[in-house]
């Protein structure tokens, strides 16, 4: 992790005074993450360049941190090379006085904009070259950002998420340092960075004089202050590792869908829940299973239905159940309310006798998360094992996807969707299941139906023939 600062305002070596670092010396500073070095590749009257190089100790960084020590990503990562949050921290520590704008030797210089060039050869950037321009451009910098190839041997792999960035312009040195201090972590937006409570004060100090008028200040503040949980390797992440896939490929039970309804975020989900509740009311269901309850949005609605006396939220993901427990505040619920609801880890590919004997089961946006080859097992578990009087199934209508401009062609609405059915495909599946298992089935639209491609979500109500 490395950056250089250059000025060509004679006498350029005054940069040494401004930074409080002598141009003829190499200085080292011990930091928590490793050792920071400051040296000057050039220092003459015409041009002076200061370089900050942080030698990260990759072994030391993770030693003794048992909570997070067991993920391979902790050991082999880009931190020793990329100019992310660790470099920003080093910059703030090593140039603390300069960052505050103090320079007792050249006070007039510190108070005056000088021509500056900044080079960051490997800037991690989530958002592409355009974001760098959007962040630094309004501050008066000319921005040149060149993408770094992922691997020249495999050109088909494309670009890496790093940019070789050159900034040039006139600025107060302290402003330049403050801007780098804030914007490097904002661009990085990486997992290992999380902020403490006093970080708001730090941001206000470092943003003084430039952040308030920045057109992207909301993005900057949001990214800078976002509280990321420390990266704790879950049991699921370890299984992902055993299989050499990224942790979030398996541990995605709470992953967000691709934003489809940008105009009214959440409107379709709300319509879906309302329709499901209406169907349950109509069926007179009192004891209800929410199979695949996720973080419990429908469970909260069901709790608000006085006619529903018993609610069981079922999910296979322990993480989802924990989220539901938090959302519903089960630990603070009154005993009477608490007695109405329970959460259970179970899997619809196994037969679970505890799910038998309920009035209704809801599978809201669940079937499309099951591999087609495993649907017969789900069918058995739900329609043969649990065998409730009413089964409500909702699933995306694949035909409607063309009405979601945000969704690319042939893309699915969620990274974990194994398929999305057309109306005909869903009707065929539902009809066959009903026939095999002794249910009647009817179909309802959810959301505003489109004359051509139907409603965004499809819903099927199965009613057991023997009541």
């Amino acid at each position: 992790m490395f950056l250089t600062l250059t000025t060509d305002q004679p006498p350029a070596t005054d940069l040494g005074f401004l930074l409080h670092k002598h141009p003829q010396r190499a200085q080292s500073f011990t930091l928590a993450s490793g050792t920071a070095h400051v040296f000057y590749p050039r220092a003459d009257a015409d041009e002076c360049t200061a370089a900050l190089l942080l030698e990260v100790d990759p072994v030391g960084l993770v030693r003794g941190r048992r909570d997070s020590a067991f993920a391979l990503g902790q050991y082999v990562n880009d931190r020793p090379y990329a100019a992310g949050s660790l470099l920003a921290v080093a910059l703030g520590a090593v140039f603390r006085t300069a960052l505050k704008g103090r320079c007792d030797a050249r006070p007039d210089l510190a108070a005056r904009p000088i021509p500056l060039r900044v080079r960051i050869p490997a800037l991690p950037c989530h958002g592409g070259p355009d974001l760098v321009a959007r962040l630094f451009g309004p501050l008066g910098w000319r921005v040149a950002a060149t993408p770094v190839p992922l691997d020249p041997v495999f050109p088909e792999w494309g670009a890496a998420p790093y940019l070789d960035v050159r900034l040039s312009g006139r600025a107060l040195l302290s402003d330049a340092l403050k801007q780098l201090y804030v914007l490097l972590p904002v661009l990085d937006n990486a997992k290992h960075y999380w902020v403490a409570e006093d970080e708001v004060a730090k941001l206000l100090r470092a943003g003084e004089g430039w952040l308030a008028g920045h057109p992207e200040r909301e993005l900057i503040t949001a990214r800078y202050l976002v509280h990321r949980r420390p990266y704790v390797a879950s049991a699921l992440a370890r299984l992902a590792e055993a299989d050499e896939v990224a942790a979030d490929e398996l541990d995605n039970s709470l992953a967000d869908a691709v934003a489809t309804d940008q105009a009214q975020p959440g409107a379709l989900a709300l319509a879906r829940r309302q329709r499901v509740l209406a169907v349950l009311r109509e069926a007179g269901a009192r004891r209800v299973l929410d199979l695949g309850c996720g973080s419990g949005a429908l469970l909260a609605d069901l709790l608000a239905e006085p006619a529903v006396t018993e609610i069981v939220g079922v999910d296979v993901a322990a993480r989802a159940l924990a989220a539901a427990e938090r959302r519903l505040r089960l630990d603070r619920m009154s005993e009477r309310q608490r007695a109405r609801i329970s959460l259970r880890q179970s899997a619809l590919t196994y037969l679970d006798p505890a799910l038998a004997g309920y009035d209704a089961a809801v599978l809201m946006e669940v079937v499309e998360h099951v591999d087609p080859g495993r649907l017969p097992a789900l069918e058995r578990a739900v329609f043969h094992g649990a065998r409730p009087g009413t089964v409500v199934v909702t699933t995306p209508n694949a035909e409607y996807n063309v009405r979601f401009p945000a969704l690319g062609p042939n893309r699915l609405r969620h990274p974990d969707h194994r398929f999305e059915w057309t109306r005909e495909q869903f009707r065929a599946w539902a009809g066959a299941v009903a026939e095999r298992r002794g249910y009647r089935v009817r179909h309802l639209p959810v959301g505003q139906p489109d004359p051509e491609v139907g409603a965004p979500t499809q819903l099927a109500v199965f009613t057991r023939k023997d009541g």
Binding site: M1, P58, Y81, A122, R238, D243, Q345, L348, G373
Partner: protein
């Protein structure tokens, strides 16, 4: 001396007033842990054995403990006065709930004796009126005890009888554990005498005939015993003839018969009860009318004393007409008998309004083999260690027997259709649409009918009332259908798996929770999933300069464990793949019940390729197995192979790009710039020489890191470019192969390579004698050559394969990875001395222990799969390996 007989597993209720000597009696005849005394429980809940206000809580606790004991089949004695009807009734209910027989032993002692004893106890302060009231209760009890449901009532009058009494525990009538067979278990005969004689001949029995040529006995020269699953009678052409033969065999000890629902109904009809004569009873009655009254009487007595089920061969075999869940094995109650004769229903009805049969067999998890009949099916099919032997002979199917313990099925065809089924027998097979069994049940048999046999319940309580007593008909649809159903309880929560090679292995609940999510959301169909590869420990850490791993430690450790001959196998840098390939789709359907040719899956049970590509790959693998001649050589129609699938990038491509390539890209972008700037500073005389050296070295390390992962990446399109390096045959029909030396396994792999060199990659290997310095040196040299040419490293394994040492299992293999390859694992700069010295302090104990546990689980699952054990038994091992993989262990090992 009076012997008081009590049935095994019974609940013994002592009855007697205070001071009648119940506790003394119990203490003399039973172990202290068998006796539950109300005084003791009052003490437990209230710190005072005489606190009558605590009685309700005390009895609650007593019943709870008694229930636990009865559930485990342990004789339990309740030491309380029990002179009142209500507490006795509660105990009778408890016994029935656990399907054991309640027995009463009454101590009827003179009032004076009881009064004197009570007065002599300083802790008893109740007056004589209490004793007198209890005596009055006792007198009433003596009149009603046998009507309350107690199967035996022993009354001891006076101290002399009490002193003279002794207790004898009798086995239940169903308890034939001492009979070890071998047996030939025969399905529903239904009056088909000719076919029965055919079948007995096919089984090797010699039939004896009387002077009129009628079959009256059959015996086997090797002393085998026939067990009939019931329903000898009705529908068929010669019910009397079948009964004559069966009764003769039973009388001479050549056969056992369990009661079928048709026998039970026949008894009622013969006794003149008003029963409907449908379902072939009319035929039986007509045929029996032609027999002399003595024969009819004999039939009535024979059928009446048939027991509901037998437990045979040390508890390993259970025969019951309609099958029996494990909790009913060896038990006696009205409900057990009702289940054994009629089966059970779920309480639901199907689309015809007919009761849905309870799928007890799909949920059966017992270790005893259960053989039964009752529901005709065209072909027999094992479901979780149970087998229905009714193949609809009377409906024109066949008559079937199972040789036990050989588990061979022997059938003879029906000579004709003797009785028209309402609907023809459906063809079965996993492909057939599963459907609940429907039972036209116009009449409801009474499962509570009185029995005469001593230890069978009299059904005083209508235990079986909720069963519909479904009468299976030829129209019956198979209840099997879905034998592959796995239960959540098979995997969830804290579980222990007993393994042959490493004892009990525990899976914690949190580990199971993680595995449940991955197995359920990402893994392939469990019927294809017989094995997940165990993790492998690396060799002990090397002390050699610049190295973390070196083969010397591996050789040394094996030598220390007493293993001289080891084999070094080239480690392919790909992705671990398990390949299950079937000879053809019909073999796959027959063995695994799934359409297709097998599966190719990862270490966590995920499919490598989409279905169409998998099928194409399996077709090629199958062709290679065919041309290598392995199907016939191994006598199998399926083969499970452990392999490495290459390139690494085929599966791990995303990970390589997102993690490894990024590190290389960032390093390559920044380090050369830093180097240039440092060189410029140095040229100016700034003292940065050391720093420049380090950065230069790191730049070289980063390039080496890129070179390391690049070796294992090449583009693939579909299957083009995909290669498989098999190195072990895991299992095939009836066999596992972990006792065969690795030389054999590699020779098999060679033959596959020869058959399809484009798809299969060879695995180079070298045998090393760990006690021979030259051989060890050659092994080291080979590792050096392989790894300096870019190879990942080698795996060192005991050549003999599965090896046990003085301290149990020896590691089945250790990996010795190359210096450059380890950059991918430990980071580009790990070879820097300051890093290496810290990295050497790695701890291998946890990884080694995990490797052995997963290895033993893998072998256990393979053995179960090879034996054809039920899916849940295989799956629990597979699942346990996945669960253990979620254990937090340093992923770099």
């Amino acid at each position: 001396m009076a012997e008081l007989s009590i049935p095994d597993m019974s609940l013994v209720v002592l009855v007697g007033v205070s001071g009648s000597g119940k506790s003394t009696f119990a203490g003399r005849h039973f172990a202290p842990t068998q006796v539950l005394s109300s005084d003791f429980f009052r003490g437990l809940v209230a710190d005072d054995v005489n606190d009558q206000s605590a009685s309700a809580e005390a009895f609650d606790a007593l019943h709870h403990v008694a229930g636990k004991r009865l559930a485990a089949g342990r004789i339990t004695v309740v030491d309380a006065t029990n002179v009142q009807r209500e507490p006795r009734a509660a105990l009778v209910r408890l016994a029935r709930q656990h399907h054991v027989l309640p027995v009463a032993i009454v101590l009827d002692l003179p009032e004076s004796v009881c009064l004197a004893r009570t007065a002599a106890r300083p802790d008893r302060d109740f007056g004589a009126h209490v004793i007198r009231r209890q005596r009055a209760d006792l007198r009433r009890a003596l009149k009603s005890l046998s009507k309350e449901g107690f199967r035996r009532v022993h009354v001891l009058r006076g101290q002399d009888e009490v002193d003279a009494a002794s207790i004898v525990v009798e086995p239940l009538l169903n308890d034939r554990r001492a009979q070890t067979g071998p047996f030939d278990v025969i399905g529903d005969v239904h009056g088909c005498l000719a076919e029965l004689v055919d079948l007995l001949a096919a089984l090797g029995y010699v039939v004896e005939r009387d002077e009129r040529g009628r079959a009256v006995d059959a015996h086997h020269p090797l002393g085998r015993t026939v067990v009939f699953v019931g329903d000898l009678v009705d529908r068929g052409p010669d019910t009397p003839g079948v009964l004559r033969l069966a009764m003769g065999m039973v009388e001479r000890g050549h056969a056992l018969v369990v009661c079928g629902n048709h026998e039970q109904k026949l008894v009622k009809a013969l006794r003149g009860r008003d029963v409907s004569t449908g379902h072939g009873l009319a035929e039986s009655l007509g045929q029996l009318a032609g027999e002399p009254p003595e024969f009819r009487a004999r039939v009535e007595e024979f059928c009446d004393q048939l027991v509901s089920h037998y437990v045979l061969d040390g508890g390993r075999l259970v025969v019951a007409h309609a099958g029996l869940p494990e909790r009913y094995h060896g038990r006696a109650s009205g409900r057990v008998r009702a289940f054994a004769l009629f089966g059970d229903t779920t309480g639901e009805t199907d689309e015809y309004g007919l009761p849905v049969r309870y799928p007890w067999a799909t949920e059966y998890r017992g270790s005893a083999t259960v053989l039964y009949g009752h529901t005709p099916t065209p072909e027999v099919e094992w479901v979780n260690n149970t087998l229905c032997l009714d193949t609809g002979c009377v409906f024109g199917g066949k008559l079937t027997a199972l040789r036990y313990p050989e588990r061979e099925v022997v059938s003879v065809p029906a000579r004709r259709t003797w009785y028209e089924p309402v609907r023809p027998l459906l063809p079965t097979g996993p492909a057939a649409a599963p459907a609940p069994a429907a039972h036209p049940a116009p009449n409801s048999p009474d499962p509570t009918a009185a029995e005469t046999d001593g230890a069978e319940p009299d059904g005083a309580e209508p235990d079986g009332a909720e069963t519909d007593g479904g009468e299976p008909d030829g129209a019956d649809r198979t209840p099997r259908g879905e034998p592959d159903l796995l239960m959540l309880a098979d995997v969830a929560g804290r579980r222990t798996v007993l393994t042959e090679h490493h004892g009990r292995i525990t899976v914690r609940a949190d580990q199971a929770a993680a595995a449940l999510e991955v197995m359920s959301r990402f893994a392939i169909d469990p019927r294809w999933l017989l094995y997940l590869p165990p993790t492998m420990a690396p060799t002990a850490t090397s002390a050699l300069a610049g190295l973390l791993e070196h083969p010397a430690e591996a050789f040394g450790d094996y030598q220390a464990a007493g293993v001289r001959r080891v084999v070094c196998q080239e480690k392919h840098m790909g992705s671990r793949a398990v390949v299950l390939v079937c000879r053809d789709s019909s073999a796959a359907l027959a063995r695994f019940g799934v359409e297709g040719h097998g599966a190719v899956h990862t270490r966590t049970g995920r499919a490598f390729f989409e279905p169409e590509l998998t099928e194409r790959l399996l077709t090629r693998v199958g062709e290679a197995v065919t041309s290598a001649g392995l199907w016939d050589e191994l006598g199998t129609s399926w083969l499970l192979v452990d392999a490495e699938l290459m390139p690494w990038s085929a599966k791990a491509g995303q990970l390589i790009r997102d993690q490894y390539a990024r590190v290389g890209a960032a390093a390559a972008a920044v380090l050369p710039v830093a180097e240039r700037e440092l060189a410029a500073a140095l040229a100016r005389g700034v003292p940065v020489a050391d720093l420049l050296d380090r950065v230069t070295r790191r730049a070289a390390d980063a390039e080496a890191f890129r070179a390391a992962y690049r070796r294992y990446c090449w583009p693939t399109r579909g299957l083009d470019g995909v290669r498989i390096a098999p190195f072990q045959v895991l299992a095939s029909q009836g066999s596992t192969h972990h006792h065969r030396p690795h030389t054999w396994h590699l020779a098999v792999a060679e033959r596959l390579v020869a058959a399809d060199p484009e798809l299969f990659a060879p695995t180079r290997s070298l045998a090393v004698d760990t006690a021979d310095a030259d051989s060890v040196a050659a092994g080291v040299r080979w590792w050096e050559e392989l790894t300096s040419a870019g190879g990942e490293g080698v795996v060192v394994k005991p050549e003999a394969n599965l090896t046990r040492g003085g301290r149990g299992l020896v590691q089945p293999g250790v990996k010795v990875r190359g210096r450059e390859y380890l950059r991918i694992v430990y980071g580009p700069d790990y070879t820097a001395p300051e890093h290496l010295s810290r990295l050497r302090q790695r701890s291998l104990g946890g990884k080694r222990s995990l490797a052995l546990r997963e290895y033993a689980l893998g072998l256990e699952g393979l053995a179960r799969a090879a034996r054809g054990e039920p899916l849940w038994r295989v799956h629990e091992c597979v699942f346990a390996v996945l669960a253990l993989e979620s254990e937090p262990v340093d992923p770099r090992l």
